[in-house]
């Protein structure tokens, strides 16, 4: 099972490496959005503004990055996967790949934010961890949403409609959590509790994906 998940994962990675245009497309998207922010924002936005802008950008980057994970699979190819592997393996490979991709994008947009906008983050390492955790959570939710939206025909718009209300609680938690890295004082253990909550939600989403995806899969 692990071997098959690995080979599906490798297949996604190879596809991404061979068809570089979509990858570069997202890179350009990230860079240009942040550059627009740089042009339109005052020189050093306050920590709160910086934080909320960062997460909003992450949200949209995630929508654009993860959306295509199910859209690019043609009908025939899906049928082929159906015959060679189980749905659980397939969704796990997709989740894994999207987490990796989103992690990469998160790091990139973090670097760009540091370069173009000022750097109000006090505890860089902690914020880095939160960003990775947040990127993983966002991509988990949107992978499942993309799987659902792929079943309906008007994909991209529907995915935004489905995903945004569902992602909001997660995003609120992440924004609150990341304030810890901006030097805001939290109650003893509250940061760990929040991080635990986000991680718990991630686990919940993975479990739901494993349970529910087989129903989406058969047609």
């Amino acid at each position: 099972m692990v071997i098959r998940i690995w080979s599906l994962f490798k297949k996604d990675l190879l596809l991404e490496l061979r068809q570089k245009h979509s990858f570069y497309g997202i890179l350009l998207y990230v860079a240009s959005t942040i550059f627009v922010l740089y042009l339109s924002m005052p020189d050093s936005p306050s920590a709160d503004v910086w934080n909320s802008l960062f997460w909003v950008i992450q949200l949209f980057v995630c929508v654009n990055t993860v959306a295509k994970s199910f859209l690019q699979e043609s009908r025939g190819r899906m049928l082929y996967f159906y015959s060679i592997c189980s749905p659980v393996e397939f969704i796990l490979a997709k989740l894994l790949f999207n987490i990796l991709l989103m992690g990469l994008m998160s790091i990139l947009s973090l670097l760009l934010f540091y370069t173009f906008l000022s750097n109000p983050v006090v505890e860089g390492l902690k914020f880095f961890g939160i960003v990775l955790l947040g990127g993983a959570s966002l991509s988990l939710v949107f992978t499942l949403m993309s799987a659902i939206a792929a079943k309906a025909q008007q994909n991209a718009a529907l995915m935004a409609i489905l995903g945004f209300p569902v992602i909001l609680p997660m995003l609120l938690l992440l924004m609150k959590l990341s304030k810890a890295a901006f030097g805001e004082v939290f109650k003893e253990g509250a940061v760990l509790q929040l991080a635990g909550l986000v991680a718990g939600l991630d686990v919940l989403i993975i479990v739901l994906a494993v349970i529910l995806f087989p129903f989406l899969w058969k047609d």
Binding site: V141, L144, I148, K151, A152, Q153, Q154, L158, I161, L162, F164, P165, V166, L168, P169, M170, L172, L173, K176, L194, L197, L201, L204, I205, L208, L212, F215, L216, D219
Partner: protein, 209 residues
């Protein structure tokens, strides 16, 4: 009925019979809808899909009503001086959570509307309903417990309920409150069963017994 006369609340305290009970009803209906979605996925019977859909619709209506009654209540109790607008007050974590809950179900109906094939619609929307219900919990049960708010039942009160602390309700209110919870829920269930019967009649030919 006699009600306790409290500072600020005054006669608006009677809104408890509407506002709180509607949220109770909404939650109950969403749970029922969730259960029918699971039943649909395990059985594949289209009846269960109709049940899940109609319970979600009535639940959302109750949720909207609960939000409106809450906003009216806030207008009379939370607005302290004239310069404060209601809009700025409604930016409360608990109200945001409630709005998210309604939005999630609105998205559920949009998803349903985007399919033409009945079986596919039933299956995919059941999956979304289960997932949405799971994400509902952080937004209305977990986050409100962690942040301060004007709304009753904020952190610090050990009532273990994000919306109100049960110890605060006067026994004179309880006389009406408990029947009202049951009454609103049953009213909603009754409306739902009517709608279900209409739908079942309409799709009589499609649904296997």
């Amino acid at each position: 009925m006699e009600v306790p006369h409290l500072h600020i609340l005054n006669e608006t305290i009677r809104n408890l019979y509407f506002h709180v009970c509607m949220w109770f009803g909404m939650m109950i209906l969403f749970i029922v809808s969730f259960i029918y979605s699971i039943k649909y996925l395990s059985s594949g019977n289209l009846r269960h899909d109709i049940f899940a859909k109609t319970y979600a619709i009535t639940g959302t209506v109750l949720g909207v009503l609960g939000y409106i009654t809450g906003a009216i209540w806030a207008n009379y109790t939370w607005v302290t001086d004239q310069s404060q607008s209601l809009g700025s007050i409604l930016k409360e974590p608990k109200l945001i959570g409630a709005a998210i809950a309604i939005l999630i179900y609105a998205a559920y109906f949009v998803l349903r509307g985007s399919f033409t094939d009945m079986d596919k619609r039933a299956r995919v929307s059941a999956v979304y309903n289960i997932f949405a219900f799971a994400m509902l919990f952080p937004s209305i049960w977990i986050i409100p417990r962690m942040v301060g708010s004007l709304h009753p039942g904020a952190p610090g009160s050990d009532s273990g309920n994000p919306a109100l602390s049960f110890n605060d309700i006067d026994s004179k209110l309880r006389v009406v409150f408990y029947p009202a919870v049951i009454g609103w829920s049953l009213l909603a269930v009754w409306i739902t069963t009517l709608k279900i019967r209409i739908e079942l009649l309409r799709d009589k030919d499609l649904i296997s017994k």
